[in-house]
């Protein structure tokens, strides 16, 4: 099995912000079942700041840990600052990921972008 950092295992054991926000302002879903990982990220936004974030993930330990970590990282951040979080930054915040698992961090970053796009679409529609 892959050897994960203590931080990855901590987020896998006790994932933060699991679930879906009922009245979310934006929802992003990324990944596909073929590759074995799907992440769904929902965000609540107020005054251009992400005030809440929740995730649901089908995937390996790294996929769950990166999902959990990105919800922690974006909460309280402005949309603009949140979008600056790279997949590498998520991996670094977890004290690194095995090379073969870096795609999981890309998944998290992409899910965030989609959630923000969804939020912006919604706002345009209003």
């Amino acid at each position: 099995m892959e050897s994960y950092s203590d931080k990855v295992m901590d987020h896998f054991r006790k994932p933060r912000n699991v679930g879906a926000i009922d009245d979310a302002d934006g929802v992003g879903k990324e990944g596909n079942p073929m590759c074995g990982d799907i992440m769904e990220l929902s965000i609540k936004v107020k005054d251009d700041t992400i005030i809440d974030a929740k995730f649901r993930t089908f995937g390996c330990g790294a996929a769950i840990a990166t999902s959990s970590m990105i919800t922690e990282m974006i909460k309280g951040k402005s949309i603009q600052d949140a979008l600056k979080i790279s997949n590498r930054a998520v991996a670094e915040a977890l004290d690194g990921l095995p090379a073969k698992k870096m795609h999981c961090s890309v998944l998290a970053a992409d899910a965030l972008k989609k959630a923000v796009d969804d939020y912006r679409e919604h706002r345009k529609a209003l």
Binding site: M1, E2, Y4, M9, F12, R13, P15, V18, G19, A20, K29, P33, M34, C35, G36, D37, I38, M39, E40, F55, R56, T57, F58, G59, C60, G61, A63, I64, P98, K100, K101, H103
Partner: protein, 395 residues
């Protein structure tokens, strides 16, 4: 916390009795079996005694056993050795979609060398249809290779029937018997095989040693050239301790097989029943009855295998997964796809393989902790949420 090992299909611990028999051959009896002096003659007789034991258990003659470094070498030798030896007769090889990588990758390499490959499908239980073998044969077919029992889902193939088909047409027939040896009866005449691969560490012997059975008269090109060992079928100084250990492990497994296979099958069935009874949407993979006594492969829908393995590991339980989310392709197991599972279900499959030291308590413990692990991961899974919200399953 007591650790529970349920990955015997990956490897087994060596039986202490096997180690006891091996030890003198590292120190006291260290001679090279190819040497003429007494040091060499001592170990030569040990190697030949081991050959007799192994061949006897298989219903073979001693000189039909070639000791090698393990199943990967045995499979490579069987396939490449036959292909190159019979190249002038034809270029067609028949194999199945569920072979171990040491067969499928070797066959893929032979394809690049100009050999034509037929990859037979399997049914939903992972079974090859002997009729499909018959239909696939043409005048250029030189080799058929179908595994005896599958390493992932435990399905036991109709080898004797396929052997008969191959025999009638004088086509070389190989079986990879790595998972069945030591667990269920294996007799080369009953199975009607020309080549059969075995690996010692799968039946409580040492790692790094195995054998290839080669029926008398079977044309085979060697993979390794050098000394005259193994009648020039496999060069290299004999791994005397490993060969002695192989024979000891084979003998012990044979002696206890009747009793042990029943004991394991009871535990296996208890495990399967216990898990599928306690966890919703958990389904057994492989054949319901024609399966290895120690294999239980179960798909846990809506969740991914590695996260199940990690959770089990946190409870001290070792199993393995059909999810290859560590592989560079991200493709799940070819075996699980071949039996018709969707990608996401294949990704959520776990193999529990039992063995000599598996107890009732071990099985009970797995049944106890699994429901919690599965429901925790399902709460996190968007696939599970979709399934329930669509009203397909309302629990």
């Amino acid at each position: 916390m007591k650790r529970i090992y349920l990955d015997y299909a990956a490897t087994t611990p060596a039986d202490p009795r096997v180690i006891d028999e091996m030890l003198p051959f590292f120190t006291e009896h260290f001679g090279n079996p190819s040497s003429v002096h007494s040091f060499g003659q001592e170990t030569k007789s040990a190697v030949e005694a081991a050959r007799e034991t192994v061949s006897g258990l298989l219903g073979a003659a001693p000189d039909e056993i070639v000791f090698v470094s393990g199943a990967t070498e045995a499979n490579n030798t069987a396939l490449k050795g036959t292909a190159f030896a019979k190249r002038d007769k034809g270029n067609h090889i028949i194999t199945s979609a569920i072979e171990h990588h040491s067969v499928s990758e070797t066959v893929a390499a032979l394809k690049k060398e100009g050999f034509r490959i037929t990859n037979l499908p399997v049914d939903r239980y992972g079974m090859v249809d002997p009729d499909d073998v018959k239909k696939a044969i043409d005048e250029k077919t030189i080799l058929i290779s179908i595994m005896h029992a599958n390493n992932e889902i435990g399905t036991i193939q109709p080898i004797a029937e396929i052997g008969k088909i191959a025999r009638e047409r004088s086509i070389t027939f190989h079986t990879d018997a790595v998972q069945s040896l030591g667990h269920i009866p294996v007799n080369v005449d009953d199975l009607d095989v020309d080549l059969l691969s075995g690996s010692s560490h799968k039946f409580y012997g040492p790692k790094g040693v195995g054998f290839l059975y080669v029926r008398k008269g079977t044309k085979l090109t060697a993979l390794l050239f050098g000394g005259d060992q193994e009648k020039r079928r496999r060069a290299g100084t004999h791994n005397t301790p490993g060969i002695v250990g192989t024979a000891a492990a084979a003998r012990i497994a044979h002696e206890s097989m009747a009793e042990e296979s029943v004991r394991e099958a009871v535990l296996r069935d208890r495990l399967i029943k216990g898990i599928t009874g306690a966890v919703q949407d958990a389904s057994l993979n492989g054949h319901p009855t024609m399966r290895l006594p120690n294999n239980a492969n179960i798909s846990f829908h809506f969740i991914e295998g590695e996260s199940i393995l990690l959770s089990l590991d946190m409870e001290g339980i070792a199993a393995s997964s059909g999810s290859a989310c560590t592989s560079s392709t991200l493709e799940p197991s070819h075996v699980l796809l071949a039996i018709g599972l969707s990608h996401e279900v294949a990704h959520g499959s776990i193999r529990f393989s039992l063995g000599r030291w598996t107890t009732d308590e071990d099985v009970a413990r797995v049944i106890e902790v699994l429901p919690g692990i599965v429901s925790r991961l399902r709460v996190m899974s968007p696939l599970f949420a979709e399934r329930t919200s669509h009203g397909i399953v309302q629990r």
